[in-house]
């Protein structure tokens, strides 16, 4: 029962039309090119592709952190001109503010995004409780008074996931949020993230190198070409929710990950992949 791509009746929540992003002035610096993408409201999309193909750049364009060099980005029906408060983002390297405690790092979005910012002073207690609940959910209970540099890399990533979620964003942008985690913790957090998604139904765009992770979590998996990146294939994942680790042992699951692996291997060497969907 996967949510399929936007039908003409409901306009997509996130839409990229013919987007290009160059970090410099020349075409040689193009990170992404001819990027077209539509994500429906409440859909969970995973983006996979070879390293350096422009996945993080795609995230920056959608969140409004970088203006696209060409093309149009719309979120929730309006053109993206700059960063939006309805977005929660977890960066590839979990950037924490070293002078703040873990709890204060997680609560950072509340100090900026309305309506929380104006309520924070009065309702600090309940917001703190909410932050602690999230920390507990990702297995960081009891670390709220520590400083981020007292945490391991994987723990910092979990804290940064909490920070992305704390203000109940309608759009969740996750750039390899589980990249620094061991397999067991990672699989545990897949479950956590899926539960959160089922409960609140944000729109999620997840960048990952882990194909099993993409297939486990997403409604739809998009495959990007080598740099300059564009989307060369897309798969709808058929497995019903909630998915469990048992799902990952299904032959169809393995088949799909193998197919994705083959496509990315081809994209890496630059062969135009045969698109099947």
């Amino acid at each position: 029962m996967s949510t399929t791509a936007a039908s003409p009746a409901t306009p997509p929540f996130v839409e990229l039309r013919d987007v290009a992003l160059a970090y410099g002035a020349t075409a040689a610096t193009l990170a992404v090119e001819r990027l077209n993408l539509a994500v429906a409201d409440g859909e969970f999309v995973a983006v996979v592709g070879p390293s350096g193909c422009g996945k993080s750049s795609l995230m920056k364009v959608v969140t409004g952190l970088w203006p696209p060099s060409r093309g149009r980005v719309t979120v929730d029906g309006t053109a993206v001109k700059g960063p939006l408060g309805i977005v929660g983002m977890a960066f590839q390297n979990s950037v924490q503010l070293p002078w703040r405690t873990v709890l204060d790092n997680v609560m950072l979005p509340l100090e900026i995004v309305e309506p929380h910012a104006s309520r924070l002073r009065r309702e600090r207690r309940s917001y703190e409780a909410k932050a602690r609940d999230l920390l507990q959910l990702v297995g960081l209970a009891g670390y709220d008074r520590q400083h981020p540099w007292q945490l391991s890399g994987g723990m910092q990533q979990r804290a940064s996931l909490c920070r992305a979620l704390i203000h109940d964003p309608r759009l969740l942008m996750l750039d390899e949020p589980f990249g620094a985690l061991d397999m067991f913790t990672r699989e545990e957090l897949w479950g956590v993230l899926q539960d959160l998604w089922i409960a609140r139904r944000p729109t999620v765009i997840l960048v990952t190198h882990d194909l099993r992770e993409a297939v486990f979590l997403a409604d739809r998996v998009l495959v990007m070409s080598a740099r300059p990146g564009r989307i060369v294939a897309e798969y709808t994942v058929p497995f019903p929710r909630p998915r469990t680790l048992e799902t990952t042992y299904l032959p169809e699951f393995t088949e799909l990950t193998h197919e994705l692996r083959r496509l990315i291997a081809e994209a890496r060497v630059g062969v135009a992949p045969e698109v099947s969907s």
Binding site: T63, G64, L65, G82, P83, L84, G85, V87, M89, F91, N93, V95, L97, P98, W99, L108, P109, E111, I112, V113, H147, W149, Q150, H167
Partner: protein, 275 residues
């Protein structure tokens, strides 16, 4: 012996073998500055006595100490006056240095526009400004306060500006992604990030503030340690001149320690626990 289990939990009180020498030098470390200073004074005293150096050229530490005691009330009053002037100038420097540093550091345009001017301004020897200040404000505390301010303002401004201007783009992006305004970014990332720079500059600024106020007192005041030293040297009271130097050094060290203590409390995070 043979009854003991093969793996023992380490006894926390028992130092590991290689820690032994480390422990010794660690215990000695707080004493080291005093030992060095004592040795220095002894050497000084010995040299003066051995070579019969006349007191008006180089007084022995004992002579300086005697002079300190003899002139204690005058030294105290003038030292307090100098301390007040220095702290006043220093406080002004903090206010304007931080305000200027935040302004310049948070805008690349302003940074580019003002930096050369500030460098040029800082290159002007402050001793050349004192006569101008006297023309404007007359003899007294005001030129001394302003000299202390002018000389200590620059390191604070530059450090705060640098701290804010060099915030990692990744840190900014965390806030920008949430739709934070420039002001919010400066308040939540720029200022905290600049704090270690700010405190580093305070330690420099407080010592040069003393240089400024005393320099100004020697030419443009009749109170303060600087003025006292000028009077003493005019009367060939060389031990008293040295006593003035000693008192200045002690005040400098004390204020430095205050700045350092505040720094440790406020920006402990920057040391990541390696205090």
């Amino acid at each position: 012996m043979s009854d003991l289990p093969s793996v023992m939990p380490p006894d926390p009180d028992e130092p590991l073998p290689f820690e032994h020498t480390e422990k010794m030098s660690e215990r000695l470390r707080p004493l080291l500055p005093w030992l060095v200073m004592g040795a220095f004074l002894l050497l000084w005293e010995a040299v003066v006595r051995l070579f019969h150096i006349p007191v008006f050229l180089l007084p022995a530490p004992s002579a300086v100490a005697a002079s300190l005691i003899e002139w204690a009330p005058q030294i105290r009053d003038n030292a307090l006056a100098t301390l007040a002037t220095t702290v006043a100038g220093f406080a002004l420097a903090i206010v304007f240095g931080v305000a200027g540093g935040v302004t310049i550091g948070s805008s690349a345009t302003l940074y580019a526009a003002f930096y050369p001017l500030l460098i040029g301004f800082n290159a002007v020897p402050k001793v050349a400004i004192v006569p101008i200040l006297v023309v404007w404000f007359g003899i007294g505390a005001v030129p001394a306060i302003l000299t202390a301010f002018l000389i200590s303002f620059f390191p604070i401004l530059v450090n705060v500006a640098t701290g804010i201007a060099t915030v990692e783009p990744e840190l900014k992006d965390v806030l920008r992604a949430l739709g934070a305004s420039n002001r919010q970014i400066v308040a939540k990332v720029g200022l905290p990030r600049a704090m270690p720079y700010f405190f580093a500059s305070l330690k420099v600024a407080i010592t040069v503030a003393f240089v400024g106020s005393i320099m100004s007192e020697t030419v443009a005041s009749n109170v303060g340690i600087g003025s006292l030293m000028m009077t003493a040297s005019a009367r060939f009271e060389v031990p008293l001149v040295f006593a003035g130097l000693v008192v200045t050094a002690v005040m400098g060290i004390l204020l430095y320690l205050v700045a350092e203590a505040i720094e440790k409390r406020v920006v402990g995070w920057a040391m990541r626990g390696h205090r």
